[in-house]
């Protein structure tokens, strides 16, 4: 197959950091080329060089695209050549319709007047191509993340894409949405669209990629073809060491019941009459790691947040017991005082104050712990932050560093530290490893193991089934707001969980 893209000896230096060091990448016409590497390895920087975000001249090395040297001045230039990148954070305007989003920036217009019939008609065509049946006039904000992702792809197709770059497209997607997306990628490949896939999810890579390039510490380590792909090999290349076990060894030793939720229900905060959580009962024991599996939008986060100080929903009913006694957890303050913590799935929006330093983020949920009579003891605060920095191996130049400058895995450790400093008995971890790399994931798992060994109870919500199977002693399966099954570690498998979800769907309908 002819080579579509050749990047030769790409180096890019930021003040004090060499982000890319002599990276070579070649992508063949019509293939799906996966790029993987830990967070901060340089994947995004490489893609920014390719898409013109860093213009020609700001990096060293040469890019040859379709046989021609590529000298880009900006992102417009790369789009004109059919190189389109879909970022992890979607770039759609929620308050505009699908059609408006689709043609944003290159509207179907004459003399500045938009031709709406043509826009609508063309949008319909592109939507069909990506398997969506939404009306072009639907507001994008009303769609789920999965569908928004498909719209991004439709938008790229509308721009005559030749090389489509997908930056962690399934990071926020649920299994079935991911499946659809991967199937679409294969379909586009059949139509001759060359694609670069950046992903942490090795099973997805194995499914769609023809070749894989692993990047580590700013340099390309290896390019493998699909035949040679083994997950262990990729992991080894990514982290530069063998990782025999992806989950830490632990001997579960569950004690008495710490958290007991009985007949918990709540309703949607705005849509009257829509019950989001239906009669849920669950328990978490001392030293136990309990999982909640289920599809996205099934109410897992809503369940956790409604228990945690009624942070979600209204008209709550049911009881929450901590340590066997009925406990008032009707506000966050009371829930925290009762020994409950909730580590959010959306650490940037709900977990961290990004512009504030690590130390201030760690103490914010327990300021009384670093103050006397309402006056802060900053020395104590720094000590506390330093302790957690050591304990959880938070990689930062100082605890006075702003958290916005930390990588995803380290940010997650800061959020964990914040809650550990409230000394919780039960931690609810909502997607604790979302968007962080393999090495950091292992560290988070190890922290979870240690917490359970200390006698705390952990309730883990996750969309990654291998993670649930690898870490949990027990798994609840949730679907459409209710718990449809419970599996012990010994009997749990991906097939069983999926089976319960599907059967549960049958029941609910």
């Amino acid at each position: 197959m002819p080579t579509l893209l050749e990047m030769r000896g790409i180096s890019k230096t930021f003040p004090g950091v060499r982000a890319l060091d002599n990276v070579n990448l070649d992508v063949e016409q019509g293939e799906i080329h996966a790029i993987c590497g830990e967070n901060g390895a340089g994947k995004s920087t490489l893609m920014k060089v390719l898409s013109g975000v860093y213009p020609h001249g700001s990096y060293e090395g040469e890019i040859v695209y379709g046989g021609q040297p590529l000298h880009l001045k900006g992102i417009k230039g790369s789009e004109a050549k059919g190189i389109i990148i879909i970022h992890q954070e979607l770039a759609l305007v929620p308050k505009l319709s699908i059609a408006e989003n689709m043609f944003l920036g290159h509207e179907n217009a004459q003399n500045g007047v938009i031709n709406w019939p043509r826009t609508t008609h063309q949008t319909e065509g592109w939507l069909r191509k990506v398997g969506l049946s939404e009306l072009p006039g639907t507001l994008v904000g009303k769609l789920g993340v999965g569908k928004q992702q498909l719209i991004e792809i439709a938008k790229a197709l509308a721009k005559d894409v030749r090389l489509l770059i997908l930056d962690e497209p399934t990071a926020a997607l649920q299994e079935n949405d991911s499946d659809k997306l991967l199937a679409l990628m294969l379909e586009l490949k059949a139509q001759g669209v060359t694609q670069i896939l950046i992903s942490h999810k090795l099973n997805e890579i194995a499914r769609v990629a023809d070749r894989i390039t692993v990047i580590r510490d700013g340099g390309a380590v290896s390019t493998l073809s699909a035949q040679d792909i083994s997950e262990d090999r990729i992991i080894r290349d990514m982290v530069g060491r063998d990782m025999a076990h992806r989950y830490p060894e632990r001997t579960p030793n569950p004690g008495e019941v710490l958290l007991e939720v009985q007949n918990w229900s709540c309703w949607h905060p705005e849509q009257a009459g829509r019950q989001m959580i239906k009669d849920v009962s669950l328990t978490v024991r001392k030293g136990e790691i309990v999982g909640i599996a289920g599809l996205m939008g099934t109410g897992r986060t809503e369940l956790a947040m409604s228990i945690f100080g009624r942070s979600y929903g209204k008209a709550h009913s049911g009881t929450v017991k901590m340590g066997g006694k009925a406990t008032d957890v009707s506000t966050v303050t009371k829930a925290v005082a009762a020994g409950l913590s909730y580590v959010t799935e959306d650490r940037k929006a709900l977990g961290l104050i990004l512009e504030e330093p690590v130390a201030r983020n760690i103490t914010i949920a327990n300021l009384p712990g670093v103050s006397r009579n309402g006056v802060l003891d900053k020395r104590r605060e720094t000590q506390v932050a330093e302790e957690y920095r050591k304990q959880l191996a938070i990689r930062t130049t100082s605890v006075q560093q702003k958290v916005v400058n930390l990588s995803g895995g380290n940010q997650q450790k800061v959020v964990l530290s914040k809650w550990l400093f409230t000394d919780p008995q039960v931690l609810i971890l909502d997607e604790p490893t979302r968007g962080i790399d393999v090495g950091a994931k292992f560290e988070i798992y190890t922290i979870m193991k240690d917490l359970a060994a200390q006698g705390r109870g952990i309730l883990m919500i996750s969309s990654e089934m291998p993670e649930l199977l690898g870490m949990c002693d027990r798994i609840y399966v949730m679907n459409e707001g209710r718990i449809v099954g419970e599996l012990a570690r010994s009997e749990a498998s991906q097939e069983k969980i999926m089976g319960m979800i599907l059967k549960g769907e049958g029941k609910a309908a």
């Binding site: 945690f308 100080g309 942070s311 506000t331 966050v332 303050t333 829930a335 925290v336 909730y342 959010t344 929006a349 709900l350 977990g351 961290l352 104050i353 990004l354 512009e355 504030e356 201030r360 914010i364 949920a365 300021l367 009384p368 103050s371 309402g374 006056v375 802060l376 900053k378 020395r379 720094t382 100082s398 006075q400 914040k418």
Partner: protein, 401 residues
């Protein structure tokens, strides 16, 4: 009482600057700008054969800009919490009118009037804060409404006329001076002592903060930098202090300003409540999920703003010696400008008391310098607008680097 004043004076705004600048480019830049602006006007006026830094002008600087600093302190909290208050000018006018009514018409003594008016201000803040915090009505709208409502209420209360004059006890709030306890008079020995103490404390707090930073492993500014800045600030304090002492002593307003500045600097930097306000402005949802009662804090920021607005209203009314329907016009803009010149972020979550005070002083010095220089009011407005823009552009530029 004198001791208490002495202590608070000691931890003066300027020593606060010494302690809190901590190698931060923004605030060092602000201070430099203040020094440069003062130098500029001194030279320009000298060339025109006029005096700038004479005792009378320095005294007037504080008398005439006290209300802006008072308002800006409260405005910082409101802006840090992620909101804005456009009503403070009208509220100051209204509370000033209430003070006038109570004092002149009902003939109540000042020690009753002052707390009563502060309660009125607090209630006004509470009403506005209630809508903003608990109903989530945008503060811009609520306080824009408040701006109109309380301007109207002022007109109604005053019946379109001025109320005054005030008894001297009330006027002292704005025009009074701390008497010399040592009875010397000129120079005012008490004032000199307090200023000397302020300078000593300034060095002490500065060095203590450095020692603490060193212990925590926080990156420090170079020693030379720290020393030269502290010396500049100390020299400024000494000069201003000496000039004031050789004139009429320390103005009461200055004492009030120093006390309030120290109080609010402490509140924002060193207390749980202050820290939580920054958290609310930095990320309200995260703050809420961390167990912070965000609504109540926002509500309290507005109550506090109302109380400070009433204080500013009384100071202005006392200075003019009458409550007028047009009083307080544009105060909100001066206060907001001071906060942003002082380095606060439009989106909330950051900004410092010291920066705000320096920002307000920059505005005040420019007002006065340009007036003495004979610059027309039209150009004064244009120049002040450009300075506000330049300060914020400087900020954004530094952040993007």
């Amino acid at each position: 009482m004198a001791d208490v004043t002495a202590e608070k004076k000691g931890a003066d705004a300027k020593s606060g600057i010494g302690a809190l600048l901590g190698g931060r480019l923004r605030e060092n830049g602000m201070l430099l700008a203040l020094v440069a602006i003062v130098a500029f006007f001194t030279i320009m006026l000298q060339l025109n054969g006029k005096d700038f830094l004479n005792p009378a002008n320095i005294t007037n600087l504080f008398l005439q800009n006290g209300h802006v600093i008072i308002l800006a302190l409260g405005m910082l909290l409101v802006i840090v919490s992620g909101h804005i208050d456009l009503s403070v000018g009208s509220v100051a006018a209204f509370t000033g009118a209430v003070a006038a009514y109570l004092t002149v018409v009902l003939k109540l003594p000042f020690f009753l009037v002052i707390p009563m008016v502060m309660v009125v201000g607090g209630c006004i803040g509470a009403v506005q804060g209630y809508w903003v915090a608990y109903w989530r009505i945008p503060s811009f709208i609520v306080t824009l409404a408040g701006m109109m409502v309380f301007r109207g209420a002022t007109l109604w209360l005053l019946g379109g006329e001025n109320i005054g004059p005030f008894p001297t006890a009330f006027q002292a709030m704005a025009n009074g001076f701390v008497p010399d306890l040592f009875g010397v008079g000129k120079p005012n020995v008490l004032a000199l002592l307090l200023v000397g103490l302020a300078i000593v404390l300034q060095f002490w707090i500065g060095f203590r903060a450095r020692a603490r930073d060193a212990e925590f492993g926080i990156a420090q500014e170079p020693m030379g930098f720290f020393l030269s800045r502290t010396i500049v600030v100390a020299a400024g304090t000494a000069f201003v202090g000496y000039q004031l002492a050789s004139f009429r002593g320390l103005p009461d307003v200055l004492v009030l300003l120093v006390v309030l500045t120290v109080l609010y600097a402490f509140l924002t930097e060193n207390t749980v409540a202050g820290r939580r306000i920054y958290a609310v402005g930095g990320n309200e949802k995260a703050a809420k999920l961390s167990g912070i009662r965000t609504e109540r804090l926002v509500f309290l920021c507005f109550v506090n703003m109302g109380v400070l607005a009433s204080l500013a209203g009384m100071v202005v009314t006392a200075r003019l010696n009458s409550a007028t329907p047009k009083a307080g016009t544009g105060f909100e803009l001066d206060a907001i400008a001071s906060v942003f010149i002082g380095g606060a972020s439009m989106t909330g979550g950051s900004g410092k008391i010291v920066g705000v005070v320096v920002g307000a002083l920059i505005m005040g010095v420019m007002n006065m310098g340009m007036s003495i220089l004979g610059v027309g009011i039209e150009f004064q407005q244009i120049i002040k607008g450009l300075v506000l823009l330049a300060a914020v552009v400087f900020d954004v530029y530094n952040k993007s680097k």
